[in-house]
Symmetry: C2
Subunit: 414 residues, 2 copies
């Protein structure tokens, strides 16, 4: 593993890699769920963790300049101390890097109102495969000079170049926020509850779903008695000025009153933090309870989410596999977790179920990854979503950036 200190060293490494024709696998904190930062075919792992400086946070321009190894959580804290706000909030935010977030175009609960990582990247310094350094994008809020390479690099999982500097857009920090916890009889009713809010003209900052299995796994962290019939929980977040938050809460409570078993709001720190802590602890909690887990990260058009949740459960039941669905209900981005004991359930059985579920997603105009990326674990499914001419075009673009195929080879493309 190489742990370079600056752009220049990375440029030298890539020039050498091109000359000697060895693969380079860039790596942030290694929290990707898809194997993207693994050197599974050998080659040099290039850690970005020493490029870890926040170079500038400008409160008037609402812009920050950072190196890729800065942790999202540490950056958020610095930004918030200045009255500003960097919305992207993957569950890993305390221990994932901004460079890694950009490489995967990480999302998070607040994506619903605030968009995902790509919506905050204004400019990038990138070392290309041959060792040349380019700067693309800009420091300004807008710009249309030349093709948009910033978005091409964002989400490209280190296969087009290595990001060495990042210009991010910031927002003023919302002055108030509140969380609404709503319990439902079923995930279908929970999803319908969210649609009631949309019909009311409300777009919460977040709307996070926990299904029955998930709820059971984290119920200890919620520190409250659940309604006995509760089989699903949705955490809604509202933010803005105090007047806006009050308005939104009251509208939301009205809109949810028909479907929800219980609606409870938390405006102050500790109660809110307890709810969100439970949300962030879902993955570790499930891992504790079930010996093995295969996780997908699908997105559906909003109105088809209730049907999909029902179908996924039926498909899983038919194969006697437990499924836990949770995640970003608001933008239709559902984390589907197949939970099993490898001693009792054959891996092929799990893969068959996975294939059935992904087919349901694609036939509903959905996508097989909303925010985790493709890496190694999903590349086999890529041709089911991307038609041959599109796949060929993407491979041709990869070739322009990386003619020798030394940048994170074997990822994304099957």
């Amino acid at each position: 593993m190489a742990i370079p200190e600056n752009t220049q060293e990375i440029a030298e490494i890539l020039a050498l890699a091109t000359e000697e024709n060895f693969p380079v696998v860039p790596r942030g904190a290694g929290t990707a769920t898809t194997g993207a930062p693994l050197a599974h075919e050998g080659g040099l792992v290039l850690s970005l963790l020493r490029l870890n400086r926040i170079l500038e946070i400008n409160t008037e321009d609402l812009v920050a300049v950072v190196e890729p190894g800065v942790f999202n959580g540490a950056f958020k804290k610095e930004v918030e101390a200045r009255g500003l706000f960097y919305p992207p909030d993957p569950a890993s935010y305390e221990f994932s890097t901004l460079g890694g977030n950009i490489a995967t175009c990480a999302g998070g609960p607040k994506g619903l109102k605030y968009g995902v990582t790509k919506d905050y990247v204004l400019g990038l310094e990138v070392v290309l495969a041959g060792g040349e350094v380019i700067f693309c994008g800009r420091r300004t809020m807008k710009g249309v000079v030349g093709y948009d390479l910033v978005h091409l690099f964002t989400g490209s999982e280190g296969t087009l170049g290595i990001i060495t500097k990042i210009i991010l857009k910031l927002l003023p920090r919302p002055k108030a926020s509140a969380t609404l916890a709503a319990y439902f009889r079923s995930v279908e009713e929970a999803a319908e509850g969210f649609l009631e809010l949309i019909n009311e003209g409300l777009l919460p900052a977040a709307a996070e779903l926990l299904d029955e299995v998930t709820l059971a796994a984290v119920s200890g962290l919620l520190e409250q008695e659940l309604p006995p019939e509760a089989r699903a929980l949705v955490l809604f977040e509202f933010d803005g000025g105090p007047g806006q938050v009050k308005e939104d809460l009251s509208l939301a409570e009205g809109a949810l009153s028909k479907l929800a078993l219980k609606v409870e709001s938390a405006r102050e720190g500790a109660a809110k933090e307890r709810l969100w802590q439970a949300r962030r602890q879902i993955s570790p909690a499930l891992k504790k309870l079930y010996p093995a887990k295969v996780a997908d990260d699908v997105v559906l058009p909003r109105r088809l989410v209730p049907r999909f949740l029902r179908e996924a459960k039926e498909l899983a039941e038919a194969r006697k596999i437990t499924v836990a669905c949770f995640g970003h209900l608001g933008d239709g981005n559902i984390h589907v977790n197949l939970l099993f004991d490898p001693k009792e359930t054959a891996r092929e059985e799990v893969e068959s179920l996975r294939r059935e579920i992904l087919e349901k997603v694609l036939s509903a105009s959905g996508t097989i990854s909303g925010e985790h990326g493709i890496g190694l674990t999903k590349k086999g499914y890529l041709p089911q979503e991307l038609a041959p001419p599109l796949l060929e075009l993407q491979k041709a673009l990869k070739k322009v950036f990386d003619p020798q195929g030394i940048l994170n080879p074997g990822k994304i493309f099957p």
Copy 2:
């Protein structure tokens, strides 16, 4: 000119153009300010105006599917009738097409809070140079499967492919809005006034600047007496729930009270519409008063806007040319208009001034185009903003999409 009716006909035209090697210049309503839709080197102009159907507006998915020849204004009206909102609002919105808006990544006043066209494009059907039809992107709110080609096509001015179908993201329509008109002694104080709002944590939906020359040109449309010392006007727009708008207005009035000569709010339809009508009529009003106009569309980091406005005026005065600066103060996107009489001022003098102004922009980490694009009129300045390796990379990408160079040749690249 060809005026095809559907994707299939466009695919056939492009297959023929590839075979016979003739240029194809796609064209929406032809409102571009940069000459992008002109067949200046000959070839076939391909009008998209007959692909003009709104195929779907889905109120639960918050998604619309449209053809490229739909007019932005007509679309907005349909969307708003369903309680939804499509924010991108170039001044041309009543007479420019959604396809053209995407080809140039059009902005508009509401870009400040809501972003620009690219922030609303989820998926695109595109006919490639050889006549193949691809669909890239998705119908869902999120997705990270493969490289982001949607953003690569957006703003590419018809040089990479021809857009034939568009999936757009919509928002719930804000329930309330209000306009605040603030008059200042100078453009510098106006720009400082905006920074006061940012420091207060306020991000208005829009903050539109009119400098002295601009104000004089449209003052008849404002139908009100201006403070005698007024040399600049900023129109601020706030939207959200009624409580939020009330809160924001009161905070803004407080923050502006030190710098502004007069602050006036308009919440109801006619008074608001009068102010915004004046804003949209700036370009025609200036054209009426001055025989010739050269317009740029620069963006600066927010904190450098006041200094730039002063410098631009000084540079223009030194050459005895009138300059009118107006536009999207909030995101630093200023329209710099050089006004002159060709009988009195040599064109070279105007071009020299233009070069000086663009150099100021670039030396302040700005960009030479925020939302109009490059087309023909700015391509000579491209190498001043984009370094040689980046320019070469962009040309290599163009070659992947269009090896024969038949798609809108001679645009963007010098």
